[in-house]
Amino acid sequence: MNLVIRLRERLARDREAFLAHPAFQAMEAGTAPSSAYVRLAGRIARTHLHSARFLAFLVAVSPPSAFEALRDNMLEELGEHEGEPSHADMLREGLRLAGLGPHLDTWEAEALSDLDTRVQEPLLHGSLRDLGFSGLVEVVAFEDFLARTTGRFAALLEAHGGWPPDALGWFHHHSEVDLQHAEEGFSHVAAFVAHHRIPDDEAWMLIDMALRGNVFLARYLDWAETGAGATV
């Protein structure tokens, strides 16, 4: 099976598992405790406030055919593109409007700490090629996920999390813009594999490792159990 088709199927499966998870369902139904909505906001902040820095690494290792698009994506994230605010600032503003400003310093520190950890921990992969490809897969996975789910995130936060409509700009922006990025991202995955002549079975192995478990659950609903019986 074509690698990109297989990747799309894998991401769809993980996305559906996320949306069907009892913790997410409870938030959509409004039966989750108020602390769950705050924690979800914190996890989104921790994941995305400094993610543009990671894009810089991907730009550095990108194949020529994906370089410009990844660079533009990074510049857009950083707010250096067409006068728009940075995505991180959009998210910060939304969090403040939602009354979560007092948490922001903590979440900023956690996001930076995660970045530090990624820099300091010993590399699992044996080459920058493998590390870069894994990072690209992860970025594409989240762009695809956000493009298809941020509308539901926005709806549950507005309905049950106390977020006013004007605080939801980051979510609306991602649902409109990232579908294009996600589609581009799949072509970047294919370009990376072709440029470095990675055999399909090896590329899939790297994809499977990058998406180990359910990265969306691990990142956004970190308190939710993934379920026993899956395998390491």
């Binding site: 903590t106 010993p122 493998d130 790297l206 499977d208 490792m209 993934t226 026993a228 395998t231 390491v232």
Partner: protein
């Protein structure tokens, strides 16, 4: 010089795994570590950890909490603990701590004891401003960790084995214990070729006849060891099993106390002991047991508790680096398994399973209080 413990905090945790973990005796979806924080009068803190395993020591989270909430802890506040300058001070702390009372159904309160002992050692070392590695010097750096395969699906097991080999791991353990064992292990060997060491762990799934049958069927594929092939109650069959197979026999659940180790060595029941700090009741006892085994010509694997945090992994790293010989080393999975670890420093091994020597004060990892709070188990 000595010091007193001013405060003891008990932190039962529930940290979800990124993926579930399965073996014959248990399915596990999250860590149930119990962390102890001890402080001296100046507020300097040390941390220790234990993970109760009902099928090993009889302990549960509840029994450990019971042990650690009893009046026995108050006794510890009135003791004068030696500062640590050498191995004899570690032994003195072990002796001073003594045994913790085992409640109903508990064979040995070792997880609780491990949490306390490691915390006190960490604090004592930090007070002296030295690393555990200065007391237990490393004879190997880095420590090389092995991987573990828990899937029962043959094709998935092969996929995961190939992934681990791609990450440079040269030593893998396959969980066995169902009818597909032989085919699954052979499939892994065929996929990996001869250069990766394979070990088996049956978690007490077999009886003597099944073990004989499975192991004889696998002798041709170069298996380095089989861990806990029989239930603990059938330890008496281990010498016979050793006669029936050339695959070295390791025990885990069977060796909880130092008396267990002496009995197993005396009866020539084993080739290798799996030594785990939490199971053995602390670092000092684990080291002593390991050295006893090595002196008797029995190999030692430094094992880990599934779901352990960086605290116990750091203690295991020091022990594995220090012992004169190790058959294999497990653990230090960190955020490969946990959604989040507890420390400022990462403990996870890198490519090739390499885990570098830890050099910071105490265990060499600093626990973040907010993470202890975040992952506290809701009662």
């Amino acid at each position: 010089m000595s010091f007193r413990i001013a405060r003891i905090g008990v932190h039962p945790l529930a940290i979800p795994f990124r993926e579930g973990f399965r073996h014959h005796l248990h399915d596990r979806a999250g860590s149930d570590a119990i962390v102890i924080r001890v402080e001296d009068a100046d507020g300097l803190a040390g941390h220790g950890e234990g993970l109760p395993r009902p099928y090993v020591t009889g302990e549960t989270v509840e029994s450990v909490m019971m042990t650690l909430s009893g009046s026995g802890l108050e006794r510890l506040l009135n003791l004068d603990w030696p500062d640590v300058h050498g191995v004899s001070d570690l032994e003195a702390i072990d002796a001073l701590l003594g045994d913790l009372p085992a409640g109903p159904g508990v064979r040995a309160a070792h997880a609780a004891r491990s949490a306390l002992e490691v915390a006190i050692l960490d604090l004592a070392l930090r007070r002296s401003g030295i690393s555990l590695g200065e007391i237990l010097p490393a004879v190997r750096n880095p420590v090389i960790y092995s991987g573990v395969l828990t899937s029962t699906d043959p094709s998935r097991t092969v996929e995961l084995a190939m992934q681990m080999a791609h990450l440079g791991l040269k030593d893998l353990k396959i969980k066995v214990g169902d009818d597909g064992d032989v085919a699954r292990v052979k499939a892994v060997r065929e996929a990996l070729g001869p250069d990766i060491r394979l070990r088996l762990d049956a978690n007490a799934a077999w009886n003597l006849e099944t073990a004989t049958e499975r192991l004889q069927a696998l002798e041709e594929v170069a298996i380095a060891s089989v861990e806990q092939p029989l239930p603990v109650a059938q330890d008496g069959h281990l010498p016979e099993l050793r006669r029936r197979t050339s695959i070295p026999v390791m025990v885990d659940e069977s060796v909880v106390t130092e008396d267990d180790a002496a009995r197993l060595i005396e009866t020539k029941a084993v080739d290798i002991l799996n030594v785990r700090i939490s199971k053995q009741g602390g670092l000092v006892r684990a080291r002593r047991l390991a050295l006893t085994a090595l002196q008797a010509g029995v190999g030692v694997q430094i094992g880990a508790q599934v779901g352990e945090t960086a605290i116990l992994s750091a203690a295991g790293r020091h022990l594995a680096a220090h012992l004169p010989e190790v058959f294999a080393v497990e653990g230090s999975f960190g955020t490969l398994l946990l959604n989040e670890d507890l420390t400022a420093q990462t403990i996870r091994f890198g490519h090739g399973g390499r885990g570098p020597r830890l050099t910071g004060p105490g265990l060499g990892v600093d626990v973040l209080a907010e993470r202890l709070a975040r992952w506290r188990r809701e009662s």
